[in-house]
C-alpha cells in the first residue's frame, strides 16, 4: 500500500462511498502535458519487440509487454470552493515472462531500448529464481496472435480536452443549487481516467488501446444542530466507460420512477440530481425509523449493482475460488464441486447473470484484456444455476476450457496483471414490467435506491447492505420515506428469493470505479447492469443507535 499516493477524502464526502482514500497513480503534470501524445504505435512496436526478443534470448518461453500511459484528472470541491485538482500521469513498461514454467514480472519507467532490455532481463531472472520453489508450472490457454490492431472507447467528448474552468463551473453550480435547496454542506467531484495501453506478446499481437472512464459524484448533507442530527444523500450517478458527453443530461436517457423519482441511464443531469438530493436529505431528517422484520425489497439498479458486485461478481472470480486471494480478499463459497454438479441453485429460475466486457458505455468494456485476449460475453448463472466463472489464460484450463475469458487486468504499467472482474449483470425480465407496476404487487415492502453501506464476508455468504433512499411500500403503494434501514441475507437465500425483474426499458448500469483486490492492492473499474428487481421476504434490521 505504500507504493502509492492517496488523497484522503474529507469530512462526510467520499469516505462513505469508497473508503478512506482515493488512489493516485503517477505524478502531477500540467494539462498541456496530458494532451501531448507520447510515442506513436510504430515506436511502441519497436520498443515492445526489444522486450520480446531479449526475454526470449534469456530463456523465456512466453513474454508479454505493456507500454502504458495512465492519465487521471480528479476535481474535488466543497460548497463554494475548489479543494483540489489532480492532474497525474504515469508512464512506463511492464514485462511479464514465463521461464522454467514460472511467471516473472518487472517494470520500469525508463522507456528506452536499453531500459526495456534490462527490465526484460530482470523479469526472466525473477522467473528463474522463483521457479526453484514453484510447485505448479504455469499452463497457458492458447491465444492466436491478432496482429496489429487498434481499439478506442467510442467517446464523443474527450474529458481531458474540456477546459478545467467548465468543470469547475459545473461543480460550483451543483454545489450552489444544493445549498439553495436545503443542503448545509456539499462536496462534489469529477473523476476522469484515460488509459493508453500498448500490448504486445510472443503470440504475435500488437494491440493499441485508448480507454476512457468518467465518474461525476457528490454528497449533500443536511444538518439540524438543534436536534443534533445530520443526514446525507450521495449522487445516483454511475461511473461509465464514456467521455464528457455523459454529463449532457439528455432527457431521453432519464427513466421515470414512482413519486417523481428519476433514474439515469447513459446520460446524467448532475445539477438536477443535486437539487433532488438536497430536498431528499432534508426529508430523511424526519423519515420514520424502520420496524425490523421481513420485507419484500424492490431494488433499483443504482442500488442492486453493488449487491450483484459483492454477492455474484466476487464469488465467481476463479482465482478467489482457487485460494490465491485467501490472505486478503478471501476465498469463495461458490466452489468447483458445486459448479461441477451442474445443479447448484445460486438463485431462482429468473436469475440469469452474464459476464461481459463488450456492453457499450460500461467500465469493463475494452477490445482486448491485458494478456491480449479479445473480449466477449458469457453466462455465469443460467436459469438460476451456477454455470461458469471469470478466468484468465493461466487458470481457465481448470474449467476444462481452451480459451481465456479475457479477465486479465493491471491497474498500471508497474502492476502485474491478474484476474479482475468483468462487467457482471443481471439480465432484464422478458415480460413487460416497469417499477410502478412492480410496486403495485407488493403488500409490505421497501423500495431502495442508491449505494449505501455494504459489507460481506470473505467467502461471500453473509451480507448487509444499506442504501441512499428507502421508501415504505404498503398494499401496492409508496406511503413515505424510511430511515435506519439495512438488509441482511445470505447470498444463495437472497438470489433464490428473487421473484420478479423489470423489463429491458428499465435496464441501466451501476459501477464501481475503485474496486480493490490483491497485495499490493490494485484498483479496477467495473459495471453492473440490471433492471429494478423484487426479492421476497428479506430480513431488514434497524441501524438506529443512541450514543448519549
Amino acid at each position: 500500500m505504500k507504493r502509492r499516493d492517496f488523497i484522503r477524502s474529507s469530512g462526510m464526502g467520499l469516505g462513505a462511498v469508497i473508503g478512506a482514500s482515493i488512489p493516485v497513480l503517477g505524478h502531477a503534470v500540467s494539462i498541456e502535458q496530458m494532451l501531448e501524445p507520447k510515442a506513436d504505435a510504430a515506436m511502441k512496436k519497436k520498443l515492445a519487440d526489444v522486450a520480446l526478443n531479449v526475454a526470449k534470448s534469456k530463456g523465456a518461453t512466453y513474454t508479454d509487454v505493456r507500454i502504458g500511459r495512465y492519465l487521471q484528472q480528479y476535481l474535488f470541491t466543497r460548497e463554494t470552493r475548489v479543494q483540489n485538482i489532480v492532474n497525474a500521469e504515469s508512464y512506463g513498461v511492464g514485462i511479464r515472462v514465463i521461464a522454467n514454467g514460472t511467471w516473472g514480472f518487472s517494470a520500469t519507467s525508463d522507456v528506452s531500448e536499453a531500459g526495456i532490455a534490462k527490465c526484460a532481463e530482470t523479469a526472466v531472472a525473477i522467473a528463474k529464481a522463483n521457479s526453484k520453489i514453484q510447485t505448479e508450472p504455469v499452463v497457458l490457454a492458447p491465444q492466436k496472435g491478432v496482429g496489429e490492431v487498434v481499439w478506442k472507447t467510442p467517446i464523443q467528448k474527450n474529458a481531458f480536452q474540456i477546459p478545467i474552468q467548465e468543470k469547475i463551473d459545473l461543480l460550483m453550480k451543483v454545489n450552489g443549487e444544493a445549498m439553495k435547496n436545503g443542503a448545509g454542506f456539499v462536496t462534489s467531484n469529477l473523476f476522469f481516467v484515460n488509459e493508453q495501453k500498448y500490448f504486445a506478446s510472443t503470440d504475435g499481437s500488437y494491440i493499441d488501446q485508448d480507454i476512457h472512464r468518467i465518474w461525476p459524484t457528490f454528497t449533500v448533507t443536511a444538518v439540524n444542530k438543534q436536534a443534533g442530527k445530520f443526514k446525507s444523500r450521495d449522487a445516483i450517478s454511475s461511473p461509465m466507460g464514456m467521455g464528457y458527453e455523459y454529463l449532457d443530461g439528455l432527457a431521453s436517457e432519464k427513466i421515470a420512477g414512482p413519486n417523481g423519482l428519476v433514474g439515469y441511464r447513459n446520460s446524467y443531469d448532475m445539477v438536477e440530481d443535486a437539487i433532488t438530493a438536497s430536498k431528499q436529505a432534508k426529508e430523511k431528517m424526519t423519515a420514520k425509523s424502520v420496524l425490523p422484520g421481513k420485507y419484500d425489497l424492490v431494488l433499483d439498479p443504482n442500488h442492486l449493482g453493488l449487491t450483484i458486485h459483492e454477492s455474484v461478481g466476487h464469488p465467481t472470480e476463479l482465482d478467489r475460488v482457487l485460494g490465491y486471494e485467501a490472505n486478503y480478499a478471501g476465498t469463495s463459497f461458490a466452489t468447483l464441486d458445486k459448479w461441477k454438479t451442474k445443479s447448484f441453485n445460486y438463485g431462482s429460475k429468473q436469475v440469469n447473470i452474464v459476464a461481459d466486457k463488450i456492453q457499450p458505455h460500461t467500465l469493463g468494456t475494452v477490445g482486448y484484456d491485458d494478456e491480449g485476449v479479445p473480449c466477449k460475453e458469457w453466462d455465469l448463472i443460467k436459469d438460476g444455476i451456477l454455470v461458469n466463472y471469470q478466468a484468465t489464460r493461466d487458470q481457465v484450463n481448470i474449467l476444462g476450457e481452451t480459451a481465456s475469458h479475457g479477465c486479465c487486468y493491471a491497474d498500471n504499467w508497474n502492476s502485474v496483471q491478474f484476474q479482475r472482474m468483468p462487467n457482471v449483470s443481471l439480465r432484464p425480465g422478458k415480460d413487460k414490467l416497469n417499477v410502478m407496476e412492480m410496486i403495485k404487487g407488493v403488500d409490505k415492502g421497501i423500495y431502495i435506491i442508491g449505494r449505501g453501506s455494504y459489507s460481506i464476508d470473505q467467502q461471500r455468504y453473509n451480507f448487509q447492505f444499506g442504501g441512499q433512499l428507502f421508501y415504505e411500500i404498503k398494499n401496492g403503494e409508496i406511503v413515505g420515506m424510511l430511515d435506519d434501514v439495512a438488509y441482511q441475507s445470505n447470498t444463495q437465500e437472497f438470489w433464490n428469493s428473487c421473484a420478479q425483474i423489470c423489463d429491458k426499458d428499465d435496464y441501466r448500469t451501476f459501477g464501481s470505479f475503485f474496486d480493490g483486490k490483491g497485495q499490493p492492492s490494485q484498483v479496477s473499474a467495473v459495471s453492473h447492469g440490471s433492471a429494478t428487481t423484487r426479492f421476497n421476504g428479506v430480513n431488514v434490521i434497524n441501524t438506529g443507535r443512541n450514543i448519549g
Partner: protein
C-alpha cells in the same frame, strides 16, 4: 540512490527554492524502495521491487497555488518544474482557505529508520515465504501470505526557511493459514520498523494453531456477548473512530462529536474512565516523523481536505485525544484552527491506547462466558452520527466458558459502535503494536452480533 541523506535532500530543495519567483514556494522530496513477496497455495505467486524518487513543487501567488512534479534532478529540469508550478498557480482558482506557509519549526526525532530493514533483499523475502510455507506444508495446511518492506525518506522545505527530513523503514507481514479441506482458518499480522523483530515462522505457527483449532466450528445464536477482541480486531474499530475525530466536522454539526443544540462534545466524558488514547511520535514501539508528513503529494495545490494531515510541516507532538474517558482534543486543519481561534493540532500518524497489565491469556481466564475474536473483516460505516459500523469476525473465533476456550464458533456479523463499545469496557490487556498503533486486547460486554455467517 532513491534514499537521499538529509544533506543531499536539503541541497536539492535549496536549489529549487532559489529558482522561485512566486510569493511563496514549498518543495517536497520523497524517495522509496519497496519490495514484496506474495504466496498462496503454499507457493510463491508474485514478487517484485520498485524504486521511486520524486520532487513536488508548490508555487503560490496570493491565494492561488499550483503544483508540478518531476523525477529528474538536473538544474534545467528543476527550473522547468518551478516555472510550470508557477504557471499552473497563476491559472488556478483562488482558495479562500489558503493559509500562508509556516515559518521554521522544531521537530522531534525518533529512530524510525533501521538498517536491518533497509538491507532486505529478494533472498530475505524468499526465506520469509519459505519459513511460513514450510511448516504449513508439513502439517498439510495451506498458507497464503504477504511480506512488504519499505525504506523511504521525506524532505520538505519552503521559501520561509522551514525544513524537515525523516528517513524510515517498515516491514509488514501477514499470513492466512487454512486447513486442506477449508474447514479451518487462522490469521496473524505483524509490523515493525526493525525487521529483526519479525519471526515469520513463530508468527505463522500462531495462524496454524488457530486454523487447526477452528475446524468443526459450532453455530451459536447471534445476540449480545462478552467479547475479547485481540489487538488486531480492537484496532479496526477504534482506528475508524479516531479518523473521525476532526474538529471541523464536529463544529459543522455532522460528526459523532457534534453536540445537540450546537457546539461540540470536547471536554465531555464519552467513554469509560479507563479509556485514554494519545499520540506520541517519540513512542519507542511506534516511532514517527516529528512533523506532519505530506499525503496525496501527487495532488498538491488546493490546500488539502478536511482533516489535519495536510503535510504543511506542523510539528507532531505528544497529544492526548481521550483522557480518562473525556474527549480532550480534536484534529484541526490550519485554516480551521485559525478560524476558530485555537492552536489546533494535526491528525495523529498513529495512536496509543493505554491498556492494563494482563495478558490475553489472563483476560480469557477471567471470562465466565464470552467470545474470543481474532480479526474483523469488511468493516463499513453504517451511521456516521453514531459511529455505527458493521463487519464480520474471521480466521479464528472461539467460545470461552469458565476461563477456557471451549470450542470454535461460526463467524458472526456485528453492528456496533466503538463509542458504545468503549462504554462497555470490562478489562484491557497489555498494548501491542498493530499497523503502526499501540492497542491492548479489550474485553467488552454486550457486543452486538446480529447474524451468523457460514464463511470460514
Amino acid at each position: 540512490m532513491a534514499i537521499l541523506t538529509k544533506e543531499e535532500a536539503k541541497k536539492i530543495i535549496d536549489k529549487v527554492l532559489a529558482f522561485s519567483k512566486a510569493d511563496e514556494m514549498s518543495v517536497i522530496l520523497t524517495g522509496s524502495r519497496t519490495g514484496n513477496i506474495r504466496y498462496a497455495r503454499n507457493t510463491v505467486s508474485t514478487s517484485g521491487e520498485s524504486y521511486d524518487l520524486a520532487l513536488a513543487v508548490t508555487a503560490v501567488f496570493g491565494k492561488r497555488s499550483g503544483s508540478s512534479t518531476i523525477n529528474e534532478f538536473d538544474e534545467q529540469s528543476l527550473e522547468k518544474t518551478v516555472r510550470r508550478a508557477e504557471e499552473i498557480a497563476k491559472l488556478a482558482p483562488e482558495n479562500p482557505e489558503y493559509m500562508p506557509m509556516l515559518e521554521p519549526q522544531t521537530y522531534s526525532e525518533s529512530p524510525t529508520f533501521v538498517q536491518s530493514t533497509a538491507n532486505i533483499d529478494p533472498a530475505y523475502r524468499a526465506q520469509v515465504a519459505f519459513d511460513s510455507i514450510d511448516p504449513c506444508k508439513k502439517k498439510n495446511l495451506t498458507a497464503a501470505g504477504y511480506l512488504e518492506d519499505t525504506t523511504e525518506f521525506v524532505a520538505m522545505g519552503n521559501s520561509k526557511g522551514l525544513f524537515g527530513y525523516n528517513k524510515s523503514t517498515s516491514v509488514d507481514f501477514s499470513v492466512t493459514v487454512r486447513t486442506a479441506d477449508g474447514s479451518g482458518s487462522g490469521y496473524v499480522a505483524r509490523d515493525f520498523n526493525d525487521t529483526s523483530k519479525l519471526n515469520a515462522k513463530s508468527a505463522t505457527e500462531i495462524a496454524m494453531q488457530k486454523a487447526m483449532a477452528s475446524v468443526t466450528a459450532k453455530a451459536i445464536e447471534p445476540g449480545k456477548y462478552t467479547v475479547i477482541l485481540e489487538p488486531t480486531a480492537a484496532l479496526d474499530l477504534i482506528q475508524n473512530m479516531m479518523r473521525s475525530i476532526d474538529a471541523r466536522s464536529a463544529d459543522e454539526g455532522r460528526s459523532f462529536l457534534s453536540k445537540k443544540g450546537g457546539g461540540t462534545r470536547l471536554g465531555e466524558k464519552l467513554f469509560d474512565e479507563r479509556v485514554t488514547i494519545y499520540s506520541d511520535p517519540t513512542h519507542p514501539d511506534i516511532p514517527k516523523a516529528g512533523f506532519d508528513t505530506p499525503r496525496g503529494r501527487a495532488g498538491g495545490g488546493g490546500g488539502g481536505g478536511g482533516g489535519g494531515a495536510s503535510g504543511e510541516g506542523r510539528p507532531q507532538e505528544k497529544t492526548i485525544w481521550v483522557d480518562k474517558g473525556v474527549v480532550k482534543n480534536m484534529a484541526y486543519s490550519r485554516y480551521w484552527a485559525q478560524k476558530q481561534g485555537v492552536k489546533g493540532v494535526p491528525s495523529p500518524q498513529g495512536f496509543i491506547m493505554q491498556g492494563g497489565t494482563q495478558s490475553l491469556a489472563d483476560l480469557i481466564k477471567s471470562t465466565e462466558k464470552g467470545i474470543l475474536v481474532t480479526r474483523f473483516w469488511y468493516i463499513r460505516a453504517v451511521d456516521p452520527q453514531t459511529q455505527l459500523y458493521t463487519g464480520l469476525t474471521r480466521d479464528g473465533t472461539f467460545y470461552i466458558e469458565n476461563g477456557q476456550i471451549k470450542f470454535p464458533v461460526k463467524n458472526f456479523r456485528f453492528n456496533e459502535s466503538p463509542v458504545i463499545m468503549l462504554n462497555n469496557l470490562e478489562a484491557m490487556g497489555i498494548p501491542t503494536r498493530v499497523n503502526g498503533n499501540m492497542i491492548p486486547p479489550l474485553k467488552i460486554r454486550d457486543f452486538t452480533f446480529t447474524s451468523l455467517s457460514d464463511a470460514v
